[in-house]
Assembly symmetry: C2
DNA sequence: CAAAGTCCTGAATCATATG
DNA sequence: ACATATGATTCAGGACTTT
């Protein structure tokens, strides 16, 4: 079902055909330059959030269990500058890979989304909206020293100010927000339960797996059937899975072996009708 | 009732006493360096958003009226770079003027808030939260080419990562969001009706007047009675008016004469109990 | 006077066709 | 490249007018 492309130094350049509906196993920084110009109709990027969590573990008060935060190598950067460099490098390549009327979505929290937004503007991207994902089941802030952060922000943009005629399916967008208008606020639970992938030990496989219902909204609103959706930092591949469920093509890049394996497994098992996980009922 | 301080070149330095509960009529860039270190317990900044609206007017099709967008000199900048310089200059001075455990709020939309957030991080500010203001009566996007932008974002931060013991009144914060937790999402209407200031011709005096209910939330949650709230870009003075209503002190700077006059008038007329405009009922 | 209907407008980076 | 004309007509809330 799913195509696997193992990146290597011998490969100088990819054709669209060779990566269509494929997971490319490799480092995005190395793979991106090999992808063709104007390949993608839409790009979804879920970059590391650079959370800068303290080393000491957070203990739940009552049950005395440790909160499993994000403690992956891929979320560690030496400084804001090195984080910015990572983002800039990817965004520049992505811009080249976007079709003229393609749009791009970047998701993040207050830790990183503002950096990304400013860097996008500096690179010439023209922001169309930010969309607020209100998580209906966010983890409370027990210490009461700040608000419970229940939101993530998606920035939606085109390549530059002059772009017209990008895809925006307004009728569909109206379904996903409260009220009659297509408002830039979405209420959705975070990914838990059966949808959440586990490793051999029953631990969550990926710390920030995005819900399929979120990608459904992104893809339905900003692409047409047959379009190519590109995700250069695929993780466990929610983008590609949802794209296929909705009759779109995907191209994904992922570096970590266990995530690539998860992508392939999901692509062979989860290509179903969206009915089970969609959430567009008002 | 309200103190007016007219800034001039002869004034080299202000004492706290000389500006307490005063509107300083002058250019923030000139006044800020004259204000004392560690004066403020909390800072609220509502900077120009740099909207970059097109020159052509937007016409309502049926009623043939023009949408009165923001077309003020103070929202015009030559480039992102010059906008950034304006923000950086103000933020640096503000940081000096903040007490060690003070907090700062900056409000904006996707046009500018990401720039501000990144610049704040680069200046060492440590973001505690972003708070999403969901506007219940935002203007629709009736051409259906993007989402109706119904939100503004408030970034809430301390001077640096090490700051502890800042004021966060969690009990009050819980009242302002849905559910039992103090969530970072506030639903509030934009400022219209009787609260909205008009000029002699019945036109809105300020294009972006903030509702008192918004400032009430900010001030109640992040200050104590008797604290000094500082607003270097005061506009029509909502910050000071609400501060006085809630038994806090204020210091405000405003450049434009008609806004200063509005501040003084409001400070002499609107210092009432908050009951009339507050909106903390669940 | 109350109720119902009309009109106006809000931090907006809102489109397309023709000349 | 500009300027100008035309058009597919959304929602909430307050002010005002009519019934």
């Amino acid at each position: 079902m799913a195509n696997l492309v193992i990146d290597s130094r011998e490969i100088p350049q990819y054709s669209v055909e060779s990566v269509l509906d494929a997971v490319i196993w490799g480092d995005a920084l190395e793979v991106l330059p090999k992808l063709p110009d104007e390949m993608a109709d839409m790009v979804f990027i879920d970059p590391p959030y650079f959370l800068q969590l303290p080393q000491k573990r957070l203990l739940r008060w009552k049950v005395k269990t440790i909160v499993e935060g994000v403690d992956e190598d891929w979320d560690k950067f030496e400084s804001f500058e090195s984080y910015d460099q990572f983002i800039i490098t990817i965004l520049k390549e992505v811009k080249r890979i976007m079709k003229a009327r393609a749009t791009i979505w970047c998701i993040g929290t207050y830790h990183n989304i503002h950096r990304i937004g400013k860097l996008m503007q500096d690179l010439g991207f023209w922001i169309l909206n930010d969309v607020i994902w209100v998580k209906t089941n966010a983890m409370p802030n027990w210490l009461n020293v700040r608000f419970t952060n229940a939101t993530e922000t998606l920035i939606w943009a085109v390549k530059d100010k002059s772009v017209k005629g990008y895809t925006f399916n307004a009728e569909i967008a109206r379904r996903f927000s409260k009220g009659k208008l297509a408002i830039n606020v979405w209420e959705l639970p975070i990914c838990i339960g059966e949808e959440r992938l586990k490793d051999g030990q029953g631990k969550k496989l990926h710390p920030t797996q995005k819900p399929k219902a979120l990608l459904e909204r992104v893809i339905l609103i900003s692409t047409k059937e047959g379009d190519i959706v590109f995700d250069p930092l695929a993780g466990t591949g929610t983008t590609g899975v949802v794209a296929k469920c909705l009759n779109r093509h995907f191209v994904m890049i992922e570096k970590r072996q266990e995530y690539v394996e998860a992508c392939l497994k999901r692509l062979s098992q989860e290509i179903t009708q969206p009915a089970l996980w969609r959430s567009d009922e008002k």
